[in-house]
Subunit: 177 residues, 6 copies
């Protein structure tokens, strides 16, 4: 059986930079396991979308990109603030994988200490392919949809995701008691 | 049976602005359900008082204001950092309610997505009717008692609440090892 | 200020025996604090009703019995399986109380070890005033409504509580995969 | 877009009866969402396999049965002992679904109370297509592999899953201190 | 540096059989790491004593037996019901160890799957050196103190531990509402 | 039996200032109980080391300083964000103690409210005996080892603790998706 690569992200939202990474990894392993981190969180400025919504984005984006469902698997993984248990948590919730692709220092540190093979992801994404930038544009009513796959933009509008984020960001404009 | 309105706050402490809101809501519905949010927290600079202490403040303040015990119900509600479950949490811990009064963006967003009727609270409170301002004054030994109902001021002094907050704020003054 | 007595129960459901206890305690102290234990649980055979539903039962039953809202306070208290922390949990979620009324061995042991005054409840309730018996009758479609206050029986029918319990008990009758 | 059906189970392990249900549901809706319940548990007599191992079983079994990866999605869902929050938990972790297939009383009750369309699953599985029976046979070293898809039997042997279960069951045979 | 052996137990209470095991392990390794399992529990019939009380029992018993404090280390370890994370939990809370001594099937299974060296403990303890037996005798007011080290018997009497257990066991003797 | 003093810290890492405090306390009481706070955390910039690693540092440092194992006991204590339960948590996980040594405002406030005797620690440590300073130096590849006991410096190098911290701090240097 070909190798499986693990790719962990929060995907808030899934954007064109993430899609590039998925293609990059699929050029190196037979199958990609996409783990949706911080799966329990939603409705915050950092994590506006639920794991289910992010899962839907990924499925639609990969479908749009012509990547076959047999090439990838998506699994939500709740965060643990007890970091030393997190690798065991990921392993227990996923099928076998052989290499971890990540540039995130904590992920790299924990998987390396646990003896996994970890590889860096080259940085070919343009500056604006950043979920933080996209969320900022949504809040400021700036153009954001060109930074995500077309199907993801449609889905976010369908669930009024940009409006949700704008509402959540209203914290400082209303009288707080 | 007349309508019940839900009013959620942290009430750290319960002040004259909160009392105005209670009266405003009782002018619109037959009964008010006061939910003490972040119920599990206490002894921090943001949340100095326990849920039980806040419950006592509310009972005394409403008694002082001549509001009959049959017109309101107070229920402590622990926070959940898994936001998408929080409306279900509130519903499971409270009697039936028909309308939610809130200006807090997260509360408004979550209850609206869950299909509840949500109404904004007009901003008739003076600038200083803010719990943040009151806690700041307690820490700085400035006059704070004019911003809360008299019975609340007495109770806070009785439990030495202002001293507790001042002690908690001492973090930066002592040698940390 | 008169003494407050704490009475902790699960009230699944609140029945005529519980009402007798409330009256007994109100004959001894100025005010009763009714704590709904296991507040987070519902939809099990042991705990069919939510804390909010149980709170509603208590309010209606005490109203029916002519007990003034100013004489009692009801507070939901989540269970902790870390027993040694439970008294601190109860104390932090409630206004001050002076005596604990209980026959439940764990409650008696924990509050006595914490230095509280604990008093036993005399056993004047008839055999069938038992929540276990009432739940059993609901499941078996036997007469149960004579064992609870009339307003509680009406409320349980209103929310189809007996049907819920019967559905939940269906576990062994359906094919399990 | 065609309808999606939700099918929740523990799949300890995934057996031929489960496979029949998957086929039955796929005869009625366009896509099946298979939720692995009690996802956090493993290494007990009731829940010997991790969510990741169960996910692997399902993928292999459905592959063996010729069901295309585009027709199904598997998502691990941790249990919540706070039942009233569980539907919100499932919804937050999954893409949209339109009908819930279940015979399990708690699942049926909770999803019906939340307003979902729930349909029963006909009982065409033979008596022995029961995960309990299979686990019992594994412990007693009886033939169990005919009750699961061939690929699942192979996988369980590969990870020594039957040995694990036998080891776990040894509790009463060893001196306990 | 000499090898360290890990010995995990609940020690409810620590008895002469446990002491024999400690001596046995110290005959094989340079140092013993005694992990108090289920550390968060107390005040139940199965787990009457707090972790702190059990720690005190172990220190006194080993002192009485003339085992030097430098030869052992005691660490409380809370249970996790997510078994697959438990080995990582133990490792994160303890200094390095080289071999695990256990007859408990779950412990043996989990540490072996994680790649640790696990050794069985020979069964030289008499039948009655069982914590279950000791707790039963405490409840029934039978002689139990001959089954534990003298210093442990004294400590349990000092904290009225046998009375606590007898009180906790009273569940079925009192009217339950 | 002589008095026991409780000393609570995070010890990230244990440094020469901590050692001075241990000696100071041992000059006043017969025995010191060293509680490792925030025991569940590790692999963050604030809490890089596990409780087990910190326990090892303390044992080695006290051994190097010639303090006999019989004079001290080290116990890991997980944090609780529900502060009002924390004293009960500490008490349940430790042997009896008679006085708490602390300058940390939250610790002082909580133990004083619970009725414990609390004493301040004089500030004889030099400015740089600060765990924050040491972690900063590790990250910046500056000299840090003179601020900790020699045995602690050796141990941190042995487990590559300074490299771990440097890796964890890399967050802002890598492309984040």
């Amino acid at each position: 059986m070909a190798e499986t690569g693990l790719y962990i992200g929060r995907f808030q939202p899934f954007h064109l930079g993430h899609l590039e990474v998925v293609k990059y990894i699929l050029g190196r392993v037979g199958r990609i396991l996409i783990a949706i981190g911080s799966a329990q969180y939603s409705h915050t400025l950092e994590n506006p979308f639920t794991a289910g919504e992010r899962l839907t984005m990924i499925e639609r984006a990969l479908g749009e990109a012509g990547i076959s469902p047999g090439k990838y698997l998506v699994v939500p993984i709740p965060d643990m603030n007890v970091h030393k248990l997190w690798v065991a948590q990921v392993v227990s919730q996923t099928p076998e994988f052989h290499v971890v692709y990540s540039n995130e220092p904590l992920t790299v540190t924990l998987f390396m200490e646990a003896g996994f093979k970890v590889e860096a992801i080259p940085f070919f994404s343009r500056e604006e392919y950043s979920a933080t930038e996209i969320r900022k544009r949504m809040i400021n009513r700036q153009e954001w949809s060109t930074l995500v796959p077309r199907s993801v933009a449609e889905y976010i509008r369908e669930i009024k995701g940009d409006t949700r984020l704008r509402n959540l960001s209203g914290s400082d404009k209303l009288p707080k008691l």
